[in-house]
Amino acid sequence: MHVLEPGHTFKSITDKIANIVLRRPVTLGWVAGFAISFGVMQILLLALAYLLFRGTIIWGINIPIGWGFAIINFVWWIGIGHAGTLISAILLLLKQSWRNSINRFAEAMTLFAVACAGMFPLVHTGRPWLAAYWLFPYPNSMGVWPQFRSPLIWDVFAVSTYFTISLLFWFTGLIPDLATMRDRAQNRWARGIYGLLAMGWRGSARHWKRYETVYLLLAGISTPLVLSVHTVVSFDFATSIIPGWHTTIFPPYFVAGAIYSGFAMVLVIAIPIRKYYGLDDMITMRHLVNSAKVMLATGLIVAYGYVMEVFAGFYSGNVYEKYLTLNRFEGPYAPFYWALVFCNVIFLNILWFKKVRETPIYLFLVSLVVLVGMWLERFVIVVVSLHRDYMPSQWGIYVPTRWDYLTFIGTLGLFASAMFLFIRIMPMISIFEIRTLLPESKVKAEAEVKH
């Protein structure tokens, strides 16, 4: 299977990707998709406005379950973002050239997912306008500072660094393509805007050399960064003493889960896009199959994590850990747990079949199941541990309210609207990196030139 189907030239690559934005008329399909997403996004605005008006009481959270949907969704969204960085950074370092056609929109996906994620803890504080002095080391008039021994502060630094570096990485990758867009745009305004963003890029050899160095270094620093982000997210749980959370398996298991759900989201986005825009010569079956394999591998690591959790629960000899495990199996939230096991342990194995990996529609459906499964995993981790910890007198039950659901659904609208806008105004595939996939892009040795 090819990374790029044969028959392309430098020019045909430029034309194909740039014309989706510059020449293709706005189609009914795009308008309908954007309108629906944008409509769903209004639900988010409504839910947030009402939240600011009434406070977090409109959600189902209360002591002992103080975290609820806000943290479940935060962890879910930020996990989805991880695949984008994995594709753009880790696969670059490993010289996996198949990344070149999916890295651009995967990075965009990262940005939008992290934006959705970051909103949740912020509004979960109840008074986000005060969050600046709770969260950042800002010298306020009361002379108090954030508590640097708390994983919640580590999280603030990890997530904000992650967003900033992802944005830089994405934008740096875009600069040469923005110059291509500038030189091809016919509309004066489009030329001006792309020109402004391209900052006068002209493809000079000196520029390219510095550019390549910084691109590689960004990949190098993004690699430990992306692993650190979900590790720090898992510290929010693991450094506490709540049964089921206080475990050393959390960091690797969270990172694997993040990549697993992230690749599922990459497939959910890539499969309709390649079909709708006829990009199957650039986003080939090879990309889909490789993504499916990464999903299968990381999914199995996650499944191993579940097995170890059960084992550790019984082997620990700790009555609370043991009770937590039993409570997951047969407590009030048992249906969530078994649905999670179905999605992430049993159903996932369908990816062993070549037929499933090589049929886009099956992959699309499997990816949706994976996304549901990973959301359930976060639900089980957050809610089941919190609702029954040490003292039965502290036990409680968490029932999400309609505002919990509306906020979550609203972020799906925000994410989809941003993706729709992105594919309409930016080259969604990296043009200059695809050019380097052509054999003509390699400089031939002198001996070959002579004859």
Binding site: F148, I153, T172, I221
Partner: protein, 176 residues
């Protein structure tokens, strides 16, 4: 100031471009640049550009970021506002590692991108090479070599004759 910026030769393939750049360098030209739609490692080597200094900037940025992250926490927790949290020492360095790490990455990344842009002289709204009408193909599928008039060896007629000997498909003047 020279009356023109330089002479621009156009090529169809990266191999021809690199070959031409090598021969120009061998012929004694130094003030020149190549323009291509994707990075060509051999091109920067051919025009004698070897060291880009970006890595050094990233290193310095990263060290400064890590240092400031650590010192910030030390100053806050030990000097400015000592707070007893669960009896841990004020200077509980293991808890400071994560913020230090994140600040290292943050500063390294920002200084790398800003440093790359600054060394490249970007943003640059105007540059003479854009005056060449065909130059917009430099972001598409053509490869350009520009020998600048500021080069001591540059001579309007001689240099044009030299470029013509390099199999360029097109040679044009780059006005200011």
């Amino acid at each position: 100031m020279e009356p023109i910026y330089g002479l621009m030769a156009e090529f169809d393939t990266p191999t021809e471009l690199v070959e031409a750049a090598k021969r120009s360098y061998a012929d004694g030209y130094r003030k020149m640049d190549t323009y291509s739609p994707f990075p060509i490692e051999e091109a920067s080597e051919a025009i004698g550009f070897h060291k880009d200094r970006v890595a050094l900037i990233v290193l310095i940025g990263g060290l400064l970021g890590g240092l400031s992250g650590y010192l910030l926490q030390y100053w806050i927790n030990v000097i400015n506002y000592p707070l007893n949290i669960g009896g841990r020492p004020y200077h509980s360095w293991p808890s400071f590692i994560i913020v230090t790490f994140e600040m290292t990455i943050l500063f390294a990344g920002i200084s790398g991108v800003v440093g790359m842009l600054a060394l490249n002289g970007l943003p640059m709204p105007y540059h003479p090479v854009f005056n060449v009408p065909r130059f917009k193909e430099a972001t598409n599928d053509k490869f350009f070599l520009c020998i600048e008039a500021a080069d001591p060896k540059f001579d309007r007629a001689d240099t044009e004759r030299f470029l013509a000997s390099l199999n360029a498909t097109n040679i044009s003047e780059v006005p200011h």
